[in-house]
Assembly symmetry: C2
Amino acid sequence: MYRAKRFTVPTFRENDYIFGEVALAATIKDIKDRTGLSLATISKYLNGGNLLPENREKIERAIKELHYEVNEMARGLVTSQSRVIGIVVFNIANVFTCTVLRYLGQRIREAGYAAMICDSQDDERMEADNIRFLLGKKVDGLIVIPVAQTSEFLDPAVRAGIPVVLLDRSLPDRRFDSVKINNAEASYQAVDLLYSYGHRRIAVIGSDSEITGRERLEGCLRLLRDRRTELPDRYLKLGRHSMEHGYESMKELLALADPPTAVFLGNFEIILGAVMAVNESDRSCPGDISLIGFDDLIISNLSNPRLTLVVQPLEGIASAAAELLFRRLEQEKTLPADKDADQDRERQCVELVLPARITEGDSVARRIEEGGDRND
Amino acid sequence: MYRAKRFTVPTFRENDYIFGEVALAATIKDIKDRTGLSLATISKYLNGGNLLPENREKIERAIKELHYEVNEMARGLVTSQSRVIGIVVFNIANVFTCTVLRYLGQRIREAGYAAMICDSQDDERMEADNIRFLLGKKVDGLIVIPVAQTSEFLDPAVRAGIPVVLLDRSLPDRRFDSVKINNAEASYQAVDLLYSYGHRRIAVIGSDSEITGRERLEGCLRLLRDRRTELPDRYLKLGRHSMEHGYESMKELLALADPPTAVFLGNFEIILGAVMAVNESDRSCPGDISLIGFDDLIISNLSNPRLTLVVQPLEGIASAAAELLFRRLEQEKTLPADKDADQDRERQCVELVLPARITEGDSVARRIEEGGDRND
DNA sequence: CTGTTAGCGCATTCAA
DNA sequence: TTGAATGCGCTAACAG
């Protein structure tokens, strides 16, 4: 395998791109030939070592002229690390995901790493594939918003000794660091807001098939218990975090003889569906029905009235996850192969729980007669 | 292909994961030691060659027992290709981007490649960095939704001989394949719809600082010229594709003594801002003002009334871009080092222009008096 | 069909 | 400070 096409660079001229001809990427060998220095010296330059200003200059010039870029594959092969963080998201076509991704990307880049993003498309098999793929690429760490409900798919990462941080959804077996919001608490507050505004006929459209959904549900139920407010079965709509579920459930609620005066909407997709159903009906929000939703930022601007929402501190979540991961990475460097320390670390996985806050819009009406539930 | 879990006690040494201890990743050397076969045979197995069923089985067992995974860095170093497609997007926190990303990811994976996504965060410098980074990672191809208005930042890719496909926004110097919709034509149709519904006082909120914006503008203007309809300066709101611009512009339009009866909204962010402004005013859509927007899917469900929108065939765009790229990749294999062919190829960059379609909602009112522009 | 051998581009010992 | 040598894990000739 020899190099067919190659620029012999004229002494003074820049090694510019020539139309139609493809140059093989320059290697440190090329810049060795050009500078007369040895491979080791050049390598030292690339990795921030000390060398004579004279030589440094020579190398820099050669690099510029040859358009040299480090071959990360070769470097990675030697160092067995890639300075790449793998990110696996349950679903990339999703406002929540995208926003988190943006912040994660920022933090990761600031730390001098790069991000490699994989989309699991809500599919557990694909999720497991993604992990294996990323491991094959020798990522240094993993940030995962999981679709699976157990953490077996992460076994290969454990085996490879690569730190993992779970985002948004923690897994029941606490083997990994995780960052999320207090879904139960936030939901508790949200329903409490409805209650404090005088609502007594409160319905919940949520999910019992997703972890976050179950947590949010728990908060709602606890508040209602604490306030000794009944939640009749017909007011509790359980399904998935999907637009269809939101739409159908809201339709059913509106069709009741005694419809609720307020509804808790468990996530973004449910909000979308539910608002659609209200819009299609002859009811209006908040006149006929009050709404409080979970997740999201964009729609609060667009919807009329502006929705009252539980908003997650996405930037905070992303920052925390990144920091957690980098701390592990540091930790690994300092504690190289200490078995006992490893043992400890296994146990000490940290679960960070951030607070969410409620931003009030105009979608929750105040009902004057405290404790009453009559309309008007 | 199901294979029962079976305990084969290894003859040499357990290479399994031990709690708290990190096992080094197995290499083909390990599986060579285990099977007694040579490296070449194993490599052949890995790359789909023919071997004796007996040996195949041995290797498969060893792989499973050792949890072997190919080290892509080593493989890439040899083959000098990574089977990774780099994707650089102008802004990842964006519905358009995310949706395209989802489809791109699917296509790329179907083709046996993986995707490496980088976010330029609307910043040209970061965009250039992303390209260099991806090149360092030896991606086989690049799909780019650019923020820059010229293609210089792609020079390193050209130099490296790596195919590039531009998405959504083509660049004035046509050096690269590109896929986009016919922005001008779609805008023409959109404004034509307003016209055909009887509107004569039509305003445009758009962007002249982005390529897509300029193209859309051109379509609007052409239609109005063709219909001999005037566009007074006060009806033409030029700025950036931002929510602020949409919001401010719509406020100004509504404050006019003779406000337009219909407004063309140049992109998703502008729609958001404009709808917000309408909601905050005492006007209603479509009663007082008709709206037609460009881009987006989600909000048409949420908004009341449902917006009439120009919808881009996102899946089609993504598929086309991926196919274009893979075609180039194929092409490279078949035409290895033919200089003349390279020359030709350079010239023959294909610019795919896909049609967008209009989905009607309820945001455009029919105005009965054809040609009239009085309100009521 | 299988084994031997020689690098891919780089970092990293050790000498000098 | 610099240089020569070695190997990371894998593929790709080529020979058997």
